[in-house]
């Protein structure tokens, strides 16, 4: 029999206040996730706790691994576009753009001016869309419920735009190698202008509701700090890196699809805590809206498909009338096109950071090797460093602030 004197009652709150723990190193290991809603998908974090304080946090990934890179190697060059958008499902347009640009670089093809502007426009809309999901869920993790609904109301408008232009809300596959799926429908521009006109009001409301909130600021300031040097050493990218004061944005440093011609700022913050990452993303939505506005103003008329004879499916009316055009159509639709032998690495700035495609072609109609450097994977590995010494409740805030998508990590 155990006497009552031997039963030790743990006093968890003592360590949280910074006083000495009478229990020594009696630690507890807690498994957070993979079904926990605040881990944003199927992330499992093995947390070692000393009372309420996180001693070590070990992320466990792989629950969503479906072997997408290998699947891509078994698809024709054009068909891969249907898979790329399924990796980072919140930033699907951006993922398609990276792949399409990588293949175009291998082929030596440049998209037409209209296509380039449309690609920038839709990718920036998708960046806003992705940041809206981050805003809604991150703030909800910290304890505010209603911002989630306002964010998803705005996001719905962007998804409607995507449905209008491509036919699908999430997995658009709208960007094709050398062009686009189809030109804009007539209903698109009025809807887009309506969205752009009302979005600044939403941002103002969002800043009033959450950014100016004292409780939110207290929960986020000075928590999960990562310095500039550490951030670079750990391979952070995107808004999480810029929140540590490192001015590095691929849209500025290695511009693609004509980003160098747009006038926009790269938001920076110095503190490297949750609040800094919050501020950077909120300001990034404003900058993305600026780019969208400029793209609307300059959208040129013209063809959407490049002249490359292999990439473009023939005109449908001609195809139905002439047998030679029909044969061309059959060959392209069934066998696809070949890409010259070579390898390419193409990075773009996705909503989460540097998204890079490394492709090797052996001159056949399928890629020989596809390797994707995804931003969420690199950003997640810094979690143990950020979470060390923080409270368990703040770990949830930290996970939300690095804005991970598990589909992007596991692929």
């Amino acid at each position: 029999m155990i006497s009552t004197k031997e039963i030790v009652v743990p006093t968890a709150s003592v360590t949280a206040l910074g006083k000495r723990d009478p229990l020594g190193d009696q630690r507890m290991t807690v498994s957070l996730g993979p079904q926990h809603p605040s881990t944003h998908g199927v992330l499992r974090v093995e947390v070692e706790l000393d009372g309420e304080v996180v001693v070590a946090a070990r992320p466990d990934i792989g629950y969503l691994h479906t072997g997408m890179e290998k699947t891509m190697e078994n698809q024709k060059w054009q068909q891969v576009v249907t898979i790329t958008c399924r990796m980072d499902y919140l930033n699907s347009m951006g993922n398609d753009l990276g792949y399409v640009l990588a293949v175009e670089k291998l082929l030596g093809v440049e998209a037409t001016p209209r296509t380039q502007v449309l690609r920038v426009l839709l990718t920036e809309l998708n960046r806003i869309c992705s940041h809206l999901v981050w805003w809604g869920t991150h703030v909800m993790d910290i304890g505010a419920m209603s911002p989630f609904f306002y964010a998803f109301d705005q996001r719905e408008k962007i998804l409607d735009l995507f449905e209008c232009v491509s036919g699908a809300r999430f997995h658009q596959s709208y960007f094709r190698i050398g062009g686009l799926q189809a030109d804009l429908p007539d209903t698109f521009m009025p809807l887009l202008k309506e969205f752009v006109a009302q979005f600044p009001d939403f941002l103002k409301m969002a800043n009033k509701l959450v950014s100016g909130n004292k409780i939110f600021q207290t929960r986020t300031k000075g928590i999960g700090i990562i310095g500039a040097e550490d951030a670079i050493n750990w391979g952070l990218s995107g808004p999480s890196l810029r929140a540590s004061g490192v001015n590095w944005d691929i849209r500025k440093s290695e511009p693609y699809t004509g980003y160098e011609t747009y006038d926009f700022d790269v938001p920076l913050a110095q503190d490297g805590d949750i609040w800094a990452r919050y501020v950077v993303r909120m300001r990034e939505m404003e900058e993305s809206l600026k780019i969208v506005q400029q793209a609307i103003d300059r959208l040129p008329a013209g063809p959407i498909q490049s002249d490359h004879p292999k990439l473009k499916l023939p005109d449908r009316d001609l195809m139905k009338q002439h047998i030679d055009v029909m044969i061309h159509h059959f060959l392209l639709a069934s066998e696809g096109f070949t890409v010259p032998i070579g390898e390419v690495y193409f990075p773009i700035e996705s909503a989460r950071g540097e998204l890079g495609y490394y492709l090797i072609s052996d001159g056949k109609e399928k890629p020989w090797r596809v390797r994707v450097k995804t931003p969420s994977f690199m950003n997640l590995q810094v979690l143990p460093k950020m979470a060390e010494g923080q409270l368990l409740a703040d770990l949830i805030g930290i996970i939300g602030s690095i804005d991970i998508v598990l589909g992007d990590i596991d692929r």
Binding site: E163, G167, A168, T187, G212, K214, M326, H329, A333, S334
Partner: protein
């Protein structure tokens, strides 16, 4: 002195928090008179865009003959291997047979357990035989029911007109 400043700090914090809560509440309450954003779907029509990629339909030409000539191009373009076709020949003259060409699809199945609705089949089809409809109601009880055959897909053309949707 330090106790006094601590008290002042606490009072300031309480006021700040109360002000933030009041601001948040005012925004929440201002939503009440606004129009409702949800749609009670089966009673009210839901807005769908013209290009929406829903359940496929197999089309017929002006004479009511099936457009599909069993060329297998949709199956070749499909990234998910969702389409299964078996072709056959119908030697009867145009007026008697049900298809526009001698060659027709005896079996035409789409497995919606595999289909990813990318639209590559509709782009590949040389006779406009396969198109995306606007139907999105396909809940089934068993996986086998996800495989739709030719008769079902041909009827989708008529079914598309009866959907409770508002096309934009």
């Amino acid at each position: 002195m330090s106790i006094l400043s601590e008290i002042i700090g606490t009072v300031k914090d309480v006021i700040d928090v109360a002000r933030s809560t009041a601001t948040g509440m005012s925004i929440t309450l201002s939503q009440i008179p606004k129009a409702k954003k949800t749609v009670s779907y089966p009673e009210e029509p839901v807005t769908i865009f013209q290009r929406f990629r829903g359940e496929h339909m197999l089309t017929r030409n002006a004479d009511g003959k099936e457009n599909c000539v069993s060329c297998f191009l949709c199956a070749a373009a499909c990234p998910a291997d969702a389409i299964y076709i078996e072709g056959a020949d119908d030697p009867r003259p145009y007026a008697e047979r049900e298809t526009q060409d001698h060659r027709y699809a005896k079996i035409y199945r789409i497995d919606y357990g595999r289909c990813i609705l990318c639209g590559f089949c509709t782009e590949a089809c040389p006779t406009d035989a396969i198109k995306h409809g606007h139907n999105f109601e396909w809940a089934v009880y068993t996986p086998g029911e996800m495989v739709k055959d030719k008769e079902y897909l041909l009827k989708n053309f008529e079914r598309d007109k009866d959907l409770n949707i508002k096309l934009v």
